[in-house]
Every structure is written in C-alpha cells, then in structure tokens.
C-alpha cells in the first residue's frame, strides 16, 4: 500500500471522519461499478455502500492494518450486497459465490486498421460468453489487478480454487488463438512498426 493510503487509513482508524470521506471519494467509482456489475441494481448498491461506510466507521477502533484498502473494500462490499439481497429474499439458500450474473461486456473500438481485428473479435466473443464467475474473476484479476489471496476472500473460495478458476477462464480463450496459430508469425512481422509508433 502506498504511503499516502496508509496515512489515510491510520487517520480513519484514529477517528478522523475526513479520512473516511477521502476513502469514500477515492473508491466510490470502483465500488459502485463493481456492485452494479454484481447486481445490476443501483438501489441495492447504494444501500450497500451506505452500510459499508457506516460499518467502517462503527468498527474503526477495532480495525487492523490492511494490506490493500481496495481489496478490503471490494471484499466487504460483496459480502454486504450478498446479505442485503438475501434479506430481500432475492436469493435463497445460496452461498455468496452464487451471484447469478456478472455484468461484463468486452468491446474493442471497431477499427479497420487494427492488425488483430479478427483475433480480437473472436477473443471478445469468447470473453463475453464466459460464465458469471469466470467473468468476475477476470475482472478482479486483470481489470482490478487484485492478488489471488484477495480474490479468494472476495469470492469466498479457497486460494487454490481462485487459481483454478482463472486458469479455466484462460483455457477457454486458448482455443481461439490456437485455431489461428498459423497467422501468428505474420503478425510478428507487422508488429514491429506498430511498436515503433508508440
């Protein structure tokens, strides 16, 4: 955790409400986005955010050091949302890993100059068809760049299962590239100029 974050976290633990407000401001977009991807319900996520920050405040003095505020917040939000939905009887007899959807659509700007257009389209199609849990883990791992340990906590699975789930998602993409295997050497030749432009 970067020093500034550590500073804010410690100030919050000592009862500084401005620090709590800073945490809220810094993470609002991320938390809201994640919540909406999980539920598709702005109302539920708003309530969950409200509960999350009140819980943070109520338990500030009992709060320990956290390695990663972001992971901690995402994990907590997910649990609160789950319990809220449960309370509303929207989910029954489900465990927290059973969020039915994860709203995640992949889209690359349609550009004819894109050397890999065809591959991307296939990749996107495959990514868009992943089951909810695989989409979520791709999102946490490669978009939010969370560590496996934090992902495991967030999704209420073991560390080992989190590796496996990422692997499974990646595996289903593997086929697409393999199919177009022969094209790859061609791509390499055209790649160098593209790099130089950057």
């Amino acid at each position: 955790m970067i020093l500034e974050e550590l500073h804010i976290w410690n100030a919050y633990r000592e009862g500084d409400q401005n620090a709590l407000a800073t945490i809220y401001t810094n993470y609002f977009d991320l938390l809201m986005e994640y919540g909406i991807r999980l539920t598709g319900d702005v109302e539920v996520v708003s309530d969950a955010l409200h509960d999350l920050f009140l819980k943070l405040w109520a338990n500030r003095s009992a709060q320990g050091e956290v390695a990663q505020i972001k992971a901690y917040l995402l994990v907590s939000l997910r649990h609160i949302i789950f319990n809220l939905l449960k309370k509303q009887k929207k989910t029954q007899n489900h465990s927290p890993e059973d969020f039915e959807n994860f709203e995640l659509q992949f889209q690359w700007p349609d550009n004819d100059a894109d050397l890999y257009k065809e591959h991307r389209e296939k990749l996107m199609m495959a990514l868009n068809q992943l089951p909810a849990r695989q989409k979520e883990i791709i999102y946490l791992r490669y978009v939010q760049e969370m560590e496996y340990a934090d992902i495991a906590t967030a999704m209420d699975i073991t560390l080992n299962s989190s590796y496996k789930l990422v692997h499974k998602a990646i595996e289903s993409l593997k086929d697409i590239i393999q199919v177009s295997g022969p094209v790859i050497p061609l791509m390499l030749n055209t790649l160098l100029p593209a790099f130089k432009k950057i």
Partner: protein
Amino acid sequence: MNVSDYSQFEKADFLEDAFFREWVFRPTPESEQFWQEWTTAAYPSLAAFHAAKLELQTMRSIVPVSFSKELQAKIWQRISSDIAQPKPGIIRLHWRKLAVAASTLLLISTAAYWLFQHPKASTTSELADLKPHNHSTLTLANGTVITLNKAQDTLNSGNAGVRIIGDTNLITYTMPSSNTTPVFNTLSVPRGDQFAVLLADGTKIWLNAASRLRYPDHFSGSKSREVYLENGEAYFQIAKNANQPFIVHSKGQEILVTGTAFNLNTYENILKTTLTEGAVNVNANNNTVKLHPGEQAQFDISAGRLTVDIVNVTPYIAWIDGWMYMDESSLQQVMEQVSRWYDLDIVFTDATLKDEKLGGKLQKQPKVTELLAILEKSSPVSFVLKNNTIYISRK
C-alpha cells in the same frame, strides 16, 4: 530481468508475470524498449507472448457501467448524517435512522454522579424483603447438582479422569488422563448471577444471568465439539481447531465455528448472534449465512427467518463487564435486564410505561436500590420493591 527467463514461457506464464502485465497496462519507455528488443529475437515463446498481450488488452476493453455522478454526494450525505445522528452520550446500536421518540428519557450514564448527589433519593424501600442471592449450579452426568457458591475444591464431572477446578464465577475442565467417553454436564446460571466455564479444549464461555449451557466434559474422539445453549445469553471464545469444528446449538439454530469469538443472545424470540472476530456460519431453518466481524445474524424463531445486520458490537458484549447499553430501548427491555441482574420480578402498574424509551448506558450496581435510584432520577417512573418484586409506576 533476464531475457532467457521468457524464452520458454507459455501464454499462462506471461499472464502471471507482473513485469509483463505492467508493461501491457502501463508501458514506460524502459519496458517498451525491453520488450521491443525481446521480440526481435525469435524465441519459441513469441507466439505465446502475442497471445497473452492480445488477451490482456482485450480483457481491459470492457464496456463501462453507468451511474450518475450526483449519486456519490447523495450516498455520502446519508452516511455522514447517520454517523452524526447519535446525540452526545447516546450509544447507537444500529445505523438505521430511528425517529427520536418524544418520550426519550434522559441519559443515565453518569451513575456515580447521581449516587453522590442524591444518596437517599429513592422511594425504593423494603430492602429487608430481598431474598438471598441465588447461586449457579452444575449438574453432573449422574444427575448430581452442585451449588457453585464458593471457590470449590476439585470436582469430578462424573467421568473418572476429568477434573473440574472451581473458582469464583469460573469452573475449569481438564483433559482426562486416559481415554474415556465424554459425558455431559450442565451449567445453570440463575437470575442474579453470572458465570464462566473454561472447557477442556481451551474454549471459554461466559454465561449471562438466566442461562443454561450443556456441554461434554471433554471432546476427545468426536468429529466436532458440540454444546447446547438451552437458554439465555453467552459469549463464546472458541479455541481454534480446524479438525474439530465447534457447533453451538440453540433453539433450532446452529452456529458452526472453527476459531472465533461471538455473542449469542436467546432471551427473546429473535436469536441474535453477534460476531466480534473470525467467521462463523449460522444455520437455521435450512438457511445459512456467513458472518463477518461486526455483523449480527438474527433468527426470528416464529417466522423462521434468518437475516444479517451490521451492528456496533460493543453494546452486545457489554454485559460481560456488567453494563447495559440502551438505544431507544423500551423500559420493559431495560427492566427485564434489571430483573435478570438482581433476580427480581417486575410488575408494571401502568402498562403504558412499558414502551417508554431509554438511551445511554447503565452499569450494574452492587445494590438494586442504587440502580433504581439512578433510573428514577432520569425517567418519569418510581419504583417500589416488595416481596422480591419491583413495582413500576408513573411518577
């Protein structure tokens, strides 16, 4: 960074490589140069490199979800007003906005002040009528009932090898020296008392007044450690043992624990499991919820409904140190606690008083009259104590 590191990489290896990911997501002139040079060599892993890069880029190309910007300010407003909402001195049990009832009584937290200022300010009387204090009892496997009224000598659970060491308000079980089948003991705490038991596995359980706990004298040879809170309230500090999960049974609810601390209150028709540390699964009516610290499971026995709430845990475990927290608590709830603390019955001479609201915190006093004096000073009630009964009437 050694180039040869990457020459045999497969796609998955690239995806797991932090340096590689960092370059795809946030290229710097240095990393650009590194990978540009690397790709000029015809390594066997080049195809995997391109596949991985393409995948990472594509994974990041996600359609944004939309929500309004005003929402951020709106939610924060709710949060900050709920943080600010408790009046000075009022202990908030729950975040949910409670309408402050006009009948809210004054704070009662300054017990000592009132006692010093008004040493005799009380209409409570008839102390002579108070019966002697009841003691907790231990029922052994063979049915023998032992009164725990003094620091005991070593007892026997009914099982040859298991010794129980008695102390003031705590009994301690020791592991048997040889293999024996566990037998059950029952610890009953009457109104007016409080007691703790240290089980053979190191688990400590505090029992509040009017509570009953049944448990084996040791846990050897079983898959799980199971105890039964048959009545009342208890705080559990469970010794960690992942191989032998701890299960607390209570009125149709089960709490599954590996190592943690929590409070279980079963006084009312809603069982409240409040988690202070670790994690537990609460199971009731074929429903399971997982609790995290700061959360409370509420099992409504009559409705068969199991829900989870976020709470400030302090008020729920304050009883261990002899405190009662009130936040919009009804006078009836407060008096029921007084009844349990001092082993006295309560009678409302004016039923409308039951719903009077109280806030603040109240510490158990050595004498009930002291406590009632504090309550009288801060509320529109007066008490008469007669035949071990507190009669409550309007001032």
